[in-house]
């Protein structure tokens, strides 16, 4: 009996990601959820600009490649055009939390009935390791070679905390994929984010704390440890908003 195999919504191709990059894990989780919910035939994914730009080659559902940061706007169009489809975006931190901040905030404020998978690895991977809106204070990157100096370039953007202040969004959760346990929790969150859309509940965003061994300059294993040591203390995991769960408490 097969207990673990590649999900069928994930294309049978080799992904271009660096060895040990956790994008592959998150892709697989999304595909597993699509399979389990039986929605491959009605799902449309939106790929971002960044390392996961070619995600359109990796999912077997219909896919759209968006301009940098604009995926939530494109998803809004797709969903409004075809409300019966299931629309998700897959975006990195530069895409979602820097150039696309307005699109992110306003799709959340509108409670747009879409699912956003947000990969936070605190760096721009595709362009070669520049400072991201989520790079940690002191973090050395190509464009913060002496470490991120908060007096000069400010503080990281905490997306879940920020969006949780809005009345709009249905569900916001931050997860990580640096251990078996965390990967399993991440899958539960991603599943919930898709189930919410199917139920018509609205905007669901899962922030996934991910690694970038290449640009962090670490082995894949060390990068996963760094998530525990540095990333999670700054970006605590957990549910930041879940309107359905709060309904009874009247805390909309």
């Amino acid at each position: 009996m097969i207990v673990f195999d590649k999900p069928k919504s994930l294309a049978d191709v080799s992904m271009h990601y660096c060895p040990g990059c956790t994008h592959g894990i998150v892709h697989r989780l999304v595909a597993e959820v699509i399979d389990e919910l039986g929605i491959e035939g009605i799902t449309v994914g939106v790929a971002p600009v960044g390392c996961s730009v070619m995600a359109y080659n990796y999912f077997n559902c219909d896919m759209v490649e968006a301009a940098h940061g604009r995926a939530p706007a494109v998803a809004t169009g797709l969903k409004r055009a075809n409300p019966d489809s299931i629309v998700f975006t897959y975006q990195g931190d530069g895409d979602l939390a820097s150039i696309g901040t307005a699109e992110t905030v306003h799709s959340a404020a509108r409670n747009e009935n879409i699912t956003i998978i947000f990969i936070n690895n605190a760096i721009y991977g595709m362009t070669g390791g520049q400072m991201a809106p989520t790079s940690l204070p002191g973090q050395v990157t190509q464009t913060s070679p002496y470490g991120r100096d908060t007096s000069h370039c400010g503080f990281p953007v905490k997306v879940c905390e920020m969006l949780s202040q809005l009345d709009g969004p249905e569900y916001l959760e931050r997860v990580a994929v640096n251990s078996v346990k965390n990967v399993r929790n991440a899958k539960k969150a991603i599943r919930k984010a898709f189930e919410n859309q199917i139920a018509g509940k609205g905007f669901s965003l899962v922030e996934v704390i991910s690694s970038c061994p290449t640009n962090w300059g670490m082995t894949p294993q060390k990068a996963l440890e760094w998530i525990d040591e540095k990333m999670i203390p700054y970006y605590p995991l957990g549910v930041y908003k879940d309107r359905s769960a709060n309904k009874e408490g009247g805390n909309g």
Binding site: M1, I2, V3, F4, D5, K6, P7, L10, S14, M15, Y17, C18, P19, G20, C21, T22, H23, G24, I25, R28, S179, V180, V183, R184, P213, T219, P220, Q221, L224
Partner: protein, 68 residues
Amino acid sequence: MAKLTFKTDLCKGCGLCVSVCPKHLLILSKDKINQKGHHPVEITDQSACIACAFCATMCPDCIITVEK
């Protein structure tokens, strides 16, 4: 009986599976090099595998099939 199958040619040799195997059964091959130019994962003792799928859970490239 538990069985692991690897799509060896797609392995990037990152070693995440190796690091999470509770039975320490996985290694990166010392002598083989795959199409991609990596030392791919290998299992040292198939019979000791408990099919926990930790390795497959952490594999970013989805190259591991687990049966039991």
